[in-house]
């Protein structure tokens, strides 16, 4: 047996085809570069053209940003990447457009509100302080807001919660449809209409203005929000959990109380807090039904009260430098109050959320 070594001539390797997996790509910092270029271009053009409005400069920059991102990416990379970049740029522009007013509002409120916001302001009423002079405080308005909003919450949370439970767990047929429809209608009631409705009742029964009357009007505004958010949260509870509980021989009402509601509690709390935040800023019903006051009245069932939004409106109407400062400070207090509520709601939602982890 002879061994023949067959020499296979090395076939010339064909020229490597262009890779289909990798291509030219822009560096990671490209969007930042586009943004810088667009801002430079927008501001430069604005300055050259002599536009006064900085808003125009900003909008022009945003437009340039979107255009530059698209054209550069489509020439360097490809059409699909360019479309992706276009969508991303538009999302960023929209985000900034949405955030700018928010920050501007917070900035103005904080910078103007801090001028008179101190311990004295928070612990004194306007009793004996002429509107156009400095001094005085917001204490009576804070008490009013806390009591009116608290009463409205106490009234509307049970009603809203029970309505939502009825709609999700029991409601079938015409009654449930009617309830859903009227909740939708209630969502659209303007606050002034709710105020007028209670005013007519107040006049009919010859009652006098009080915090309770305002709270009733606020409750009308709050109930549909609580119903809607609770309904959505209860719908998110998987049916399997209800069946598991029923199959253990647990009655339906206990299943709802012990399994369904605890599972949805985080979301329900958030919904209630958001509803509270919504009504805390209502002015119209307070004007009609609580009447407003310069004095501390801790009894929400008798006599006129003030409230934060009402106080802001009242101080603004006085029209002096000192009252403007007080109005801004009260606005800051109101924003802080609502923000605090939201933080509390988030805390509760996180604490009560169904636990994962081992």
């Amino acid at each position: 047996m002879s061994q023949t070594a067959v020499q296979v001539p090395p076939t010339p390797s064909p020229p490597t085809p262009p890779s289909t997996l990798s291509g030219r790509s822009l560096p990671r910092w490209a969007p930042l570069g586009f943004a810088a270029a667009a801002i430079a271009l927008g501001c430069g053009l604005g300055a050259v053209a002599g536009w006064h409005s900085k808003t125009q400069w900003g909008l022009l920059s945003a437009l340039f940003f979107v255009l530059i991102s698209y054209t550069v990416t489509s020439t360097v990379e490809n059409k699909r990447q360019a479309k992706d970049r276009l969508a991303t740029s538009v999302v960023w522009v929209c985000f900034i457009l949405a955030v700018v007013p928010l920050f501007s509002l917070i900035w103005v409120t904080v910078s103007r509100g801090l001028k008179v916001l101190d311990g004295y302001f928070l612990t004194h009423s306007m009793a004996g302080v002429p509107g156009f002079e400095t001094g005085g405080g917001v204490y009576h308005a804070i008490i009013g807001t806390l009591e009116q909003v608290g009463l409205a919450t106490v009234i509307s949370v049970p009603i809203g919660l029970l309505t939502a439970i009825y709609l999700v767990e029991y409601g079938r047929g015409a009654l449930a449809k009617a309830v859903t429809f009227f909740v939708d209608v209630m969502t659209g009631i303007p606050s002034i209409v709710a105020g007028l409705f209670l005013l007519s009742i107040m006049l009919m029964f010859e009652l006098s203005p009080s915090g309770l009357m305002g709270a009733l009007a606020l409750a009308i505004l709050m109930i549909p929000v609580v119903v809607r958010s609770t309904e959505e949260m209860l719908k998110l509870v998987p049916n399997e959990l209800r069946e598991a509980s029923l199959a253990l021989g647990v009655p339906k009402w206990r299943t709802i109380l012990k399994v369904v509601i605890p599972t949805a509690l985080g979301g329900i709390t958030t919904g209630v807090m958001l509803a509270v935040a919504r009504i805390a800023g209502e002015t119209a019903p307070i004007m009609l039904l609580v009447f407003g006051s310069q004095l501390i009245n801790a009894n929400p069932f008798e006599g006129a009260q003030s409230s934060l939004p009402f106080y802001i409106w009242e101080q603004y109407r006085v029209g002096s430098e000192a009252s403007y400062d007080r109005a801004w400070a009260a606005a800051l207090v109101l924003i802080a109050f609502v923000m605090l509520l939201n933080l509390v709601a988030r805390g509760i939602a996180r604490w009560k959320a169904p636990k994962t982890g081992r």
Partner: protein, 258 residues
């Protein structure tokens, strides 16, 4: 403990749709009865009529009789809540309560029914978890959430939860279909242990599983598409798998179906 189930002339509806028709069978106490059959033939629906869970579905209603040791579950003065305490159920997908710890999940049935003494609770939870072969795996983390367990452990947790209320009958709706072979084996072993104490009815798509765990097997089928499901035959498992008396059963088991 364990009770016999006698079903006669049972028909179940979803609204106007007739899901199963005229089913009669006997389920022996202290044994495992398996239900097999193609999807949509009404096995699960029939299972859910045995503890009145069928009527929980909107539009669900039932005609016929289900006797649990001579007591009709559908009698006019029977409370469905009481029926479900007597006839427990384990579902296809493990569904521990997400807000509760492992301990609370097992104790849930007793706590929510309000029928327990406080000092007994710990013992009952331990006993149930031991019966479900889960005690050794979870004894050090009883206050951790039940949803943190693996799928197989969650399903055994659900079995522990179901047997903690000491039912007479345990219904299992494809309890292993979401589990891997090892967890499946654990649950099959568990079923063989539990049949000493309970009457067990299990729905399964796994023919080998039916052959392994059950004493009697019932074959369900649709007469035709759109027709209600019906019981084809029920017999000793060995007979059904070796020498069924109906041709359709043999076709289904041997895979020559349809």
């Amino acid at each position: 403990m364990a009770k016999r189930i006698d079903v006669s002339g049972l028909t179940a509806y979803y609204g106007a749709h007739k899901a199963i028709e005229d089913i009669s069978m006997t389920v022996e106490p202290r044994s495992v009865t398996a239900f097999i059959g193609p999807s949509g033939c009404g096995k699960s629906t029939f299972l859910r009529t045995l503890n009145r869970m069928h009527e929980v579905t909107p539009g669900g209603r039932v005609e016929g009789k289900v006797l649990l040791d001579d007591e009709d579950l559908y009698g006019s003065d029977v409370d469905p809540v009481g029926v479900r305490r007597t006839v427990g159920m384990v579902f296809q997908r493990p569904n521990p309560f997400p807000t509760m710890s492992i301990f609370d999940n097992v104790a849930a049935g007793l706590r929510l029914n309000g029928s327990y003494k406080k000092n007994q609770l710990t013992d009952i939870v331990e006993k149930s978890l031991r019966s479900a072969n889960l005690w050794n795996e979870v004894k050090d983390r009883l206050n951790k959430p039940g949803s943190g367990l693996s799928g197989g452990q969650q399903q055994r947790l659900c079995i522990a939860r179901a047997i903690a209320v000491e039912p007479e009958v345990l219904l299992m709706d494809e309890p292993c279909s979401a589990l891997d072979p090892i967890s499946t084996l654990a649950i099959e072993d568990l079923i063989s242990e539990l049949k000493e104490r309970f009457t067990i009815v299990i729905v399964t798509h796994n023919m080998q599983q039916a052959a392994r765990v059950s004493d009697r097997t019932a074959f369900f089928n649709l007469a035709a598409v759109g027709q209600p499901g019906r019981l084809v035959e029920i017999d000793e498992t060995e007979r059904i798998f070796a020498n069924p008396s109906v041709q359709a059963t043999e076709d289904y088991i041997s895979g020559r179906f349809g």
